[in-house]
C-alpha cells in the first residue's frame, strides 16, 4: 500500500509545484490579479528548458532562461491589462491562448524528449550518487528555500513593497505616488517567472515536455496555496506564509501520488477530485462564516428578547 517510495516521489514533484504555487501566490494573493496565463506559462518554461537542454545548453542556465521567458509572459499580460485596459482574467486568457502557438513554435513538435541529455537532476546525482530521487529531493528543498528567501527579501524592499501595496489598495498607492501600472507588471513578471521555473523543473524531472503539460496548473497551484494557508493559519510573519505555500504544494502532491498509487482513483479523474477539493476548501469558509453569523445572530436575538 503506502510505500516510502510513493511519498518520496510525491515530495519531489511537490517541490517542483512549489515554484508554481509561489508564483500564483504573488499574482492571486498579493496582487489580487487572477492571472490565468499560468497554464501556458508553465508549459512555456518546460518548452524553453527542454529545447535548450536538447541543444546542449547547461541545465542550470536553461532554468534561468525559463525564468526570463516566464517574466516576458507576465510582462505581456501586464501590458495588456495596464495599457490596453483589458480586465485581468481576459488578459490572462489571451496570453494563455497565444502561448499555445508560441510553445509549439518553441518546441517544433507537440512533445520533446530529453532522456538522452543530462538534466540538473542527473548532474546532481552524478555528484552525490544517492539516486535520482534523493537528488531531486535535495535540489528541490534547497531551491525552494532559496526562492522563498529571495522572495521574502524582494517583497520587503521598497520596490517589493509597492507590489504588495498595489494589490492591497491601488487607489491609495497612486495617491502615494506609486506607478501602479509598473508595480503590477513587475509583480506579474515575477509571478510568471516562477511558474515557468516550475515548468522547467518538471521537464527535467520527467525528461520530457509536451504542449499540454500545463493544463490544470492553476488549480493545482490554488489547491497548494489553500492547503498552505489552512495549515499555517496562525503563522505570523511573511516568510512563514511563503513557506506555507511551498509546503502546501508538497502536501497536495503527496496526497495525489498516494491516491493514484493506491488505485483509489485513476489519474483521469484526478482533475475532478482537485476541483472538488478546492470547491470544498473555498466553500467551507463561506459555510463556516455564515454559520458563525447565524449563531451570533441568534445570540443577539436572545439578548434583545431578555
Amino acid at each position: 500500500m503506502l510505500s516510502f517510495d510513493t511519498l518520496l516521489t510525491g515530495a519531489c514533484q511537490g517541490l517542483i509545484w512549489a515554484f508554481v504555487a509561489l508564483g500564483v501566490f504573488i499574482s492571486f494573493r498579493l496582487l489580487d490579479f487572477a492571472d490565468l496565463s499560468c497554464e501556458g506559462c508553465f508549459t512555456c518554461g518546460a518548452a524553453v528548458s527542454g529545447v535548450l537542454i536538447a541543444g546542449g545548453v547547461p541545465p542550470a542556465l536553461s532554468v534561468i532562461c525559463a525564468f526570463f521567458a516566464g517574466c516576458i509572459v507576465g510582462i505581456v499580460t501586464g501590458l495588456l491589462h495596464t495599457k490596453l485596459k483589458i480586465p485581468p482574467i481576459l488578459a490572462g486568457i489571451l496570453t494563455m491562448t497565444a502561448l499555445f502557438s508560441v510553445n509549439l513554435m518553441i518546441m517544433q513538435s507537440p512533445n520533446i524528449n530529453i532522456g538522452k541529455h543530462n538534466t540538473l537532476y542527473d548532474q546532481v546525482n552524478g555528484l552525490l550518487e544517492i539516486g535520482r530521487r534523493y537528488s531531486a529531493l535535495i535540489i528541490g528543498v534547497l531551491l525552494v528555500i532559496l526562492v522563498v528567501y529571495a522572495l521574502y527579501w524582494f517583497l520587503g524592499t521598497e520596490l517589493g513593497c509597492t507590489v504588495r501595496a498595489t494589490g492591497d489598495n491601488e487607489k491609495m498607492c497612486r495617491a502615494q505616488g506609486v506607478n501602479t501600472d509598473n508595480a503590477k507588471i513587475l509583480g506579474l513578471a515575477l509571478s510568471n517567472g516562477l511558474v515557468a521555473v516550475g515548468g522547467s523543473m518538471l521537464c527535467q524531472y520527467q525528461s520530457s515536455a509536451n504542449s499540454t503539460m500545463g493544463v490544470g496548473a492553476i488549480v493545482i497551484a490554488l489547491a497548494s496555496i489553500i492547503i498552505g494557508e489552512t495549515i499555517f493559519k496562525r503563522a505570523r510573519g511573511f516568510v512563514l506564509r511563503l513557506f506555507g505555500v511551498a509546503i502546501g504544494a508538497v502536501i497536495y502532491r503527496v496526497i495525489v501520488t498516494v491516491i493514484i498509487d493506491a488505485n483509489i482513483m485513476s489519474p483521469d479523474n484526478l482533475k475532478l477530485l482537485t476541483a472538488l477539493v478546492i470547491t470544498v476548501a473555498l466553500g467551507l469558509s463561506a459555510i463556516l462564516d455564515s454559520a458563525k453569523k447565524a449563531i451570533k445572530h441568534r445570540g443577539s436575538h436572545k439578548k434583545g428578547g431578555a
Binding site: 524592499t157 521598497e158 509597492t162 501595496a165 489598495n169 487607489k171 491609495m172 495617491a175 502615494q176 506609486v178
Partner: protein
C-alpha cells in the same frame, strides 16, 4: 519662503464631462475657474453631485479633463499622470478604507508615504531611524498608534485610519492638502478629534488646503475662505472678514440668493 497671497493653484476653465455623447451625459465640472493663494485654507461645500469630488479628482489627475488647465505653483500639471502629481497633493478620502493598505503594517504604510517623491529602489524597507521618525509623528496624533507600528492597518478603527491617512498625506510636505469629506464617515466625537488634528497639521506647516465638508458649521468655523459648488461651478466665494462673520443663517440666505433655490431641499448641507 515664498510670499503669502501669491497663487499656489490656478484652475482655468476646467470642464469634465462624464458619459459624453450619451443620454447620461453629465457635465460634472463646467468651465470652473478658481485661484487659490499660498496658505489658503478653503472649505468647500455643495450638495450631492455638485462636483466636489470631481474637482479633487481633476486636480490629482484621476482622469483627463475635457477642457481647461491647472497651474500648480507656476507649473502646468494638466497632463501630468496621477502618480507623478502625488508628490504635490496630499489626499484624504471620505472612505477610511480608501487611504491606507489594510493588509500592511502601520509602519509599512508610512514608509510608502515617506517615499512619495522618491524612486522605489532595492533597499530593504524602513531603517531604525525611520521608525523613530514615524513613532514621533504618530505620537502627535495622540491615539497611541506609536505603540502599534507593526499592527496591520486593517485592525484600526475608521477614525484611527483617517488620522493615519492624514499623517501619510503630510509626512512629506505636499504643496497642497486635499480633504474630501474626510470626517463624514466618522461618529461625531471621532470626527471632531480628526478635525482637530487636521487643524493642527495644517496650521503647523501653513499648508494650502482644500477641505470638502458636508457640515456647514465646520465649513464656517475652519479656514479663511469658503466656496460653494453647484452643477460644477463655483457659485459662492467668501473670504476675509465676510468669512469670519459668517453664520449658518447668512450662508443659507446667500445660497438661495445665488442659486434661486431653497437651501432646505438639500439635505446634505443641513446635516
Amino acid at each position: 519662503m515664498e510670499e503669502k497671497n501669491t497663487p499656489m493653484l490656478e484652475i482655468r476653465g476646467i470642464t469634465k464631462i462624464f458619459h459624453g455623447g450619451t443620454i447620461n451625459e453629465k457635465r460634472a465640472l463646467d468651465n470652473l475657474s478658481l485661484t487659490i493663494n499660498r496658505g489658503d485654507f478653503i472649505t468647500v461645500i455643495g450638495g450631492n453631485g455638485a462636483g466636489k469630488s470631481t474637482l479633487m479628482n481633476a486636480l490629482t489627475g484621476v482622469f483627463p479633463l475635457d477642457e481647461g488647465e491647472i497651474i500648480l505653483d507656476g507649473k502646468d500639471i494638466t497632463f501630468l499622470p496621477e502618480h507623478r502629481r502625488a508628490r504635490y497633493f496630499g489626499r484624504v478620502f471620505q472612505d477610511p478604507m480608501m487611504g491606507t493598505a489594510p493588509n500592511m503594517e502601520i509602519a509599512e504604510n508610512l514608509s510608502l508615504a515617506y517615499r512619495r517623491d522618491k524612486r522605489h529602489g532595492l533597499r530593504w524597507e524602513i531603517s531604525a531611524k525611520e521608525r523613530e521618525l514615524y513613532a514621533k509623528e504618530l505620537a502627535r496624533l495622540g491615539l497611541g498608534l506609536e505603540e502599534r507600528m507593526s499592527s496591520k492597518v486593517g485592525l484600526l478603527s475608521g477614525g484611527q485610519r483617517q488620522a493615519l491617512t492624514l499623517l501619510m498625506a503630510t509626512l512629506v510636505q505636499p504643496k497642497m492638502l486635499l480633504l474630501d469629506e474626510h470626517t463624514a464617515a466618522l461618529d461625531p466625537k471621532t470626527a471632531a478629534k480628526v478635525l482637530e488634528i487636521t487643524e493642527e497639521i495644517v496650521a503647523e506647516a501653513g499648508l494650502t488646503t482644500l477641505m470638502v465638508t458636508h457640515n456647514m458649521r465646520d465649513a464656517i468655523e475652519h479656514g479663511n475662505r469658503l466656496i460653494m459648488l453647484k452643477d460644477g461651478k463655483v457659485i459662492l466665494d467668501i473670504a476675509g472678514e465676510e468669512k469670519k462673520n459668517l453664520t449658518v443663517e447668512t450662508l443659507l440666505a446667500m445660497f438661495s440668493r445665488v442659486s434661486g433655490e431653497e437651501f432646505a431641499s438639500d439635505r446634505a448641507l443641513l446635516s
